[in-house]
């Protein structure tokens, strides 16, 4: 039972990480209609910048502003130099141009930091574990990630539902032309949204540092998973992204934790582990396929 709860928490934690990426991705797609494959690169840039500064200064906390600043700067540069030219172009152009960005960023990061992964230590404040329930000991750092993610979710909810910018964002995702006609500086709005998305991606990247290895290519793997989240949740819906992230995080973690064990009942150990790992990796895509077959526009979009 405690093991199950622990896996559940791991799933939630993974889901929260996905949400930080998916929120930006779905905002950018929902409002500007741009498929940004380079979102994973921003995640990687945040991770590298933060981890590097943290390792150099010996302070985890200094890594946070470094990660956020680097990610936001990279995001704004991408928007200004490339994505700005892709509004209104077809998806193929967007996919290919941002695919080109992935190649550029991966190679640039390799040239600057080398091929060796970077590591950062968890700060003493967040190190160690707490006993949540009798027998359920859980790392503080992962709990902190969950807390940060929930805070961001609440913040985004308030931003989008309670502020003027949020109102424009919502209006922009429904009818771009109308918002422009009302005299709103849509270009500035786009830039702000893109910067916000980049900021969240950078935050996710830095927080992932102590759990995963910070290495070239870390962005692409999670990017595709994030796209699955966005599509399952419904493109453009923050609420959808939130719930889909949690569902997907839990499903993915659950499959990885339990499937090899189940398969071992019917086949020999190593084969079961390999096949189990394979099927668990396929699990989220299977989930997405099923969801799309039932609701082609995603779970949280009202079918019109």
């Amino acid at each position: 039972m405690t093991l199950f709860l622990e896996q559940l928490l791991n799933g939630v934690q993974f889901g929260i990480m996905l949400f930080l990426l998916a929120a930006g991705l779905t905002l950018i797609f929902g409002i500007m209609g741009v498929i940004n494959l380079a979102h994973g690169s921003i995640y990687m840039i945040g991770a590298y910048a933060g981890t590097w500064v943290a390792a150099r200064t010996g302070s985890f906390w200094l890594g946070i502003p470094a990660a956020l600043a680097a990610a936001a700067f990279a995001g704004l540069a991408i928007e200004f130099l490339v994505v700005r030219r892709l509004y209104g172009r077809d998806h193929l152009d967007q996919v290919l141009a941002t695919f080109g960005l992935i190649l550029i960023f991966n190679q640039a990061v390799t040239m600057i930091f080398g091929r060796q992964p970077l590591f950062v230590a968890i700060p003493s404040l967040l190190d160690g574990s707490v006993e949540l329930l009798p027998g359920l000991v859980y790392p503080v750092y992962r709990l902190a990630i969950i807390a940060v993610g929930l805070l961001v979710a609440v913040g985004l909810y308030l931003l989008i539902n309670r502020t003027r910018i949020g109102m424009l964002v919502r209006a922009g995702s429904t009818n771009r032309e109308m918002v422009r006609a009302l005299g709103v500086d849509v270009r500035l709005l786009y830039t702000l949204v893109f910067g916000l998305g980049a900021l969240l991606a950078g935050l996710a990247g830095f927080m992932a540092g102590p759990i995963l290895a910070v290495q070239v290519g870390m962005g692409e793997q999670i990017l595709i998973t994030t796209f699955v989240v966005v599509v399952i949740g419904g493109v453009g819906s923050i609420r959808g992204a939130f719930f889909a992230s949690l569902i997907l995080g839990v499903v993915d973690t659950g499959l990885r934790a339990y499937l090899p064990g189940l398969l071992r009942h019917v086949m020999v150990g190593p084969d079961a582990d390999a096949l189990g790992a394979g099927i668990s990796s396929m699990g989220i895509y299977l989930l997405m396929a099923i969801v799309l077959l039932i609701r082609p526009k995603g779970l949280f979009i009202r079918n019109s």
Binding site: F29, I35, V82, R85, L86, D90, H91, L92, D93, V95, L96, A97, F99, G100, L101, I102, L103, I104, N106, Q107, A108, T110, M111, E220, I224, F227, V228, V230, V231, V235, P270, D271, A274, L275, G276, A277, G278, I279, S281, M282, Y285, L286, M288, A289, L292, L293, P296, K297, G298
Partner: protein, 327 residues
């Protein structure tokens, strides 16, 4: 709308050049050019197949490397069962005959394309891009986990498939086999895009509503195009497995799908020979850049950005505008 075949002189020159290439390459002391050209032909087949859905049908499939990989694995798996002499599923015997493995690769990838296409085409737009990507990823992870067939190490095909007493290990011979198959393929593709079916496909890209108004079932046409395109990629994958004498999950990795799309857009979307040109540009660019610097992907990224942002229609269109003639 296809003018390429109306320029028989140009076509004849290119064809003669392609036939003469290995002989000239050998004479000039650049024997490796033949291998490069073989890769170009194979990728050209794959890219042109993708272009049928991408360029003519307007369906942005981000998962076509799956069919490329399936084609490769059909060859690899049949070869493994042939060399171990144990039938597949207990009743299908393995094979090392190109005349068996190629059709098998085409059929299997066609069946897979029918299944994946039937499901994916229920969606459109960004969902279509993502669901095709998802299916390709599923297959990628499936083959990574299939230890029987090499897992992520892939399968080594010790000898190239046999064909009618030819020495297939000879690079020139294999090049000519690929060239013949590619020629056949492009003739078939030319017939397809210039048929009524091809016109309907283009019509669907331009306006689904209009086609529906005429009473044409969009889904069925799109699915048919998807299947044909999957079969073409399977054929290319089977040839590639023979060429490399190796097949691995990397053949269906999502970056491979991206590369195929790059070839299409480099050469020109929605043109018959554009993808072949794109495959040539990409493959040559890759090997030239790689020989200059180990950071060739950086350069490739910038070139790709430039092409997408500024050429609007790839190399063919850029040339057409440069020389002021309408391609």
């Amino acid at each position: 709308m296809e003018k390429s075949f109306k320029q028989p002189a140009l076509l004849a020159i290119v064809l003669i050049a392609l036939i003469a290439l290995p002989i000239v390459a050998d004479a000039a002391g650049y024997a490796s050019l033949t291998s490069l050209a073989t890769r170009v032909l194979i990728y050209g087949i794959a890219a042109a197949s993708l272009n049928l859905v991408l360029g003519y049908g307007g369906m942005v499939s981000f998962g076509h490397a799956a069919f490329f990989g399936i084609g490769g694995y059909v060859v690899g798996i049949l070869y493994q069962h042939y060399s171990l002499d144990e039938p597949l599923f207990g009743f299908i015997s393995g094979s090392n005959q190109l005349l068996v493995t190629l059709p098998a690769a085409i059929i299997v990838s066609g069946i897979m394309a029918a299944a994946i296409g039937a499901l994916s085409l229920r969606t459109g737009g960004v969902q279509f891009i993502m669901i095709t990507l998802a299916f390709a990823q599923m297959l990628f992870f499936l083959f990574v986990s299939l230890k029987t067939y090499g897992g992520d190490d892939g399968l080594i095909i010790r000898r190239t498939n046999e064909l009618a007493g030819l020495n297939m290990r000879d690079k020139q011979t294999f090049y000519y086999v690929c060239l013949s198959i590619a020629m056949l393929f492009f003739v078939v593709l030319w017939r397809i895009v210039n048929s009524r079916f091809g016109n309907v496909l283009v019509g669907l890209r331009q306006s689904g509503k209009r086609m529906a108004a005429i009473g044409l079932p969009a889904y069925r046409y799109k699915l048919m195009a998807f299947v044909i395109s999957g079969m073409g990629c399977g054929l290319a994958g089977a040839l590639m497995a023979n060429f490399l004498r190796f097949t691995s999950p990397d053949m269906m990795h999502w970056t491979k799908s991206g590369e195929l799309m790059i070839m299409v857009i480099l050469g020109g979307v929605g043109t018959l020979f554009g993808p072949l040109v794109g495959a040539a540009v990409f493959t040559v660019l890759e090997s030239v850049l790689a020989s200059w610097t180990e950071n060739w992907q950086l350069a490739l990224g910038f070139i790709l950005l430039f092409v997408v942002l500024y050429t609007q229609g790839g190399v063919q269109a850029a040339f057409a505008r440069l020389f002021g003639k309408h391609a």
